[in-house]
Subunit: 431 residues, 2 copies
Amino acid sequence: MIPGTFGIGSEVMTRWTLPPEQIPSAWFNVVPHLPSPLQPPLHPGTREPVGPADLAPLFPSALIEQEVSAEPWIDVPGEVLDILRLWRPTPLQRAVRLEQALGTPARIYFKDESVSPAGSHKPNTAVPQAFYNAREGIRRLTTETGAGQWGTSIAFAAAQFDLELKVYMVRASFGQKPYRRIAIETWGGEVVPSPVDEPDHPGSLGAAISDAVRDCVARDDTHYALGSVLNHVLLHQTVVGLEAREQLELAGETLPDVVIGSCGGGSNLGGITFPFVPDESVRLLAVEPLSCPTLTQGRYDYDFGDTAGLTPLMPMYTLGHDFVPPSIHAGGLRYHGDSPLVSSLVKDGRMEAAAYPQGKVFEAAVQFARSEGKIPAPETGHAIAAAIDEALAAKETGEERVILFNYSGHGFLDLAAYDDYNNGRLDDEMG
Amino acid sequence: MIPGTFGIGSEVMTRWTLPPEQIPSAWFNVVPHLPSPLQPPLHPGTREPVGPADLAPLFPSALIEQEVSAEPWIDVPGEVLDILRLWRPTPLQRAVRLEQALGTPARIYFKDESVSPAGSHKPNTAVPQAFYNAREGIRRLTTETGAGQWGTSIAFAAAQFDLELKVYMVRASFGQKPYRRIAIETWGGEVVPSPVDEPDHPGSLGAAISDAVRDCVARDDTHYALGSVLNHVLLHQTVVGLEAREQLELAGETLPDVVIGSCGGGSNLGGITFPFVPDESVRLLAVEPLSCPTLTQGRYDYDFGDTAGLTPLMPMYTLGHDFVPPSIHAGGLRYHGDSPLVSSLVKDGRMEAAAYPQGKVFEAAVQFARSEGKIPAPETGHAIAAAIDEALAAKETGEERVILFNYSGHGFLDLAAYDDYNNGRLDDEMG
C-alpha cells in the first residue's frame, strides 16, 4: 500500500457493502410464517392437489422439494454461492440526494440488484435453477421471457453449467427490444418469438409459458425454468432481504418501517419483503402497474399460470388467464396472475398493494436518475414511485420513517421507453 | 440479524470489496515518476508553452493547476468523494472461471468499473470536473462524445451540480446508437450531432471537440469538459489503480506482473496503470484497435487534439489530427492522438503497446461473457483479449503470472455490435 492515500473522507455514509464471505448461506422460507396455510396447487385435469410426480417432467426433484417445503431455512449449495459471489452481496445504498430533493425527514434505503451480470435480481434464482437441473443430468432448458430480464438471466446461468437453452420471447418484445435478445444469444441461448403458432399475435407471458412447457414435455433431456411466481423462485430471491437486514444494521437502523417492491409475478418483491414478514411492525408494500392491476383489482381464486391452461391451477390473485395486458413499457410486470405466496400475504392483510400509472412511474424514475445517478428499469420505477410517496407522507407528518425498496434492475436496455417519456410520446393509457 | 443465516460458503475467494470509507482520498500524480520530464503543450499560434491564462476560457483554475502540477498527491474534495461513493470503491474480481476455461496457471484479476451510474470508468473524472466548474461559478458545460460513454458520464455529473450541458455527439453514433443519447437526455443534457456545420459528415471525436470548444469560448458562463487525454483527467482516474493495489493485497498478492488497459485517449489505462509506474517489476500494457493504431504505428510529435486545430499542440503519439478512423464498434477508442502522459511512458519504454483486430476482441469478449457472466463494452474487450494472451503465454511457460486489467465498462449499450459479431456481420477491416 502507498502510505497516506486512504482517508475517511468527509460526510454521511450512504453505502454499505458486505464481504463475499457474508453472502447468505441459507434461503429464508416464508411458508412457516404465513398468517394462514398456503392452499396447494391443483392438477388442471383432476383438480386434485398436485404431487411431486406431476411436476417431475418440468422441474428437478430438488426444486420440487423446495416448492413444497415448510423448512424454515434451506441451504444454498456451495456451487451456487460461488457463482452468486460474482456480484453478491449487492450494495445497500441510502438515497440521501433523493431525500434532499424531496425535503423529507424519511431515510430511504435501496438494495442495488442492478449490479448482477444480467442487470437485475433475476440471476438470484436463475443460478440455482440451472445448477439443480445440471446436477440431475438435464442437458437443456426451455423458458419464456417478456421484456427479456428473465431470459437474459437464465441464459447467463445456463452458460455457467453448459446447458442448452431455448427462450420463447413475447413477440412484441422480440421485435421492439432486440438488445435483450442479443444478450441471450451472446451467452449462447436460442431465442424465438412467441406464440410460435400465431405469427401475427403480439404475444403475452402466459402464451410464452405455454410454448416453453409444450417444448419441455416433448423431450426427455429438457426441463422448464420459470423466473417468478413459484415458491422456489421467491425462496431463492430471499438473499436480497437477508443481506438488506444485515446492512440496515450496519447503517444503524433496527428495522425499516416499510419495505417496497414492484410486483409482476412477485419475485423481486418476495425477495426483499419475505425476511421481514415475521417482524410485525414492518409494513410490506407491493407496487403494480395500474394497467395490469392483479393485486388491487383481481380476484383471489384458483387459476392457470399460462394462457393455454397447461400449468397447475394456483391459488392467487388473477385477472383471468386469458387477460391480455396492454403493452406498457414495464414488460416484466405484464402478468395476469401473481405468486401464491404474495397473494396469500395480501389476502390475509400482511402485505399492502398499490397500483401506479405509467406517467407517475417515469416521473419518479427520472427524478431518481437525476438525484441518485442510476437510471432504473421501468419495473423498478414502480417501487421508486411508491418510496417517494412514502417519503412525502413522512414529510407531511414530520416522521423519521425508514423506507427500504428493491432497486431490482437498471434501465440501460429500456432507454427507448425513456425516449418516449422525455419526448411526451408515452401513452399513459390508464394514468 | 436472523441467527444462523450467514456462513462462510464453500470455495476460493474471487471478489474483494472495500468499504466506502476506504475510497482513496487523494489522487496519484504520475508526473514525478516519469522517466523523462513531460514536454509542455504549445500555443497553436505562437508555438510557445501554454500558460494558465491560455486555458482559462476552457477550464476552471483548479483543473488548470492540476494539469501542470508536479505534486505527488492531490487531495480529493469531500464533495467529490460523497458522489464517487455512490458506487466506489468498485469491486476487484478474480476471473477464476476464465482461468479454468483457458487452463492457465495465471491468476487474472479485473477491476470492475462497470458498476458506475453511467456504466464505465468515465464518471471518475466527470464528477470532479463538474464540481470544480460549479464551485468557480460556471453554469454550463460543453463537451464532445463518440459512442457516448463520456457524454453520459458528464451528463450524470452535471445533474449532480445543476449544470446545463450541451453534448456534441459524433454524427455516426448519434444516428446508430440512440441509447446513450437518450441516457444523456434523461439526465437533463442536450445532444446535437457533430460536425454541426457539415450535416452529411459522419463525424469524428476531433471534429466534435472543435464544435464543443467553439461553443465554449463564445460564452462567458460556459466551460469545456474533456473525458480523456489531458493530465487532470488521467489524474482523476487513478482511484482505479489505487483501489486495485489495496484489493490485490487483500487477495494475498504483492504486486501484479502485468497491468493492462484498453487505450483510446488513455484515461482508463492511465487510471489503472499509473499507481504501478513506480514499481519497476510491473509491466504496463496499452491495448489499442488495429484500425486506429496510434501508439503502435503513430509518430511521437506535437499535434492538435482536435481536427480544426483549436486546441494547444500536445506532445503525443498521433496518426495526424486530420486522420479519420474507420467506424469500428469500439467508438471510444477512435482517436487520432493519445494522452501525453501515456505517450511519454511508451516513448521511454516504461509502458508497452499492442494493437488488436476487432474480430479477436469480440471473440475474447464473448469468451469472457460466457465464463465470467458480464458482457463487456467493446473497448473493454481489447483489454480482455490482451489479458487472455498474457494468460496463454503463462500457460506456455507454466508461470504463475498475476494479471490485472481494467474492466472499464459494460456492453449493455453496445449489443448491436454483438449482434453483428454473433451473426458473422462484423466487418474486420484490418483483422
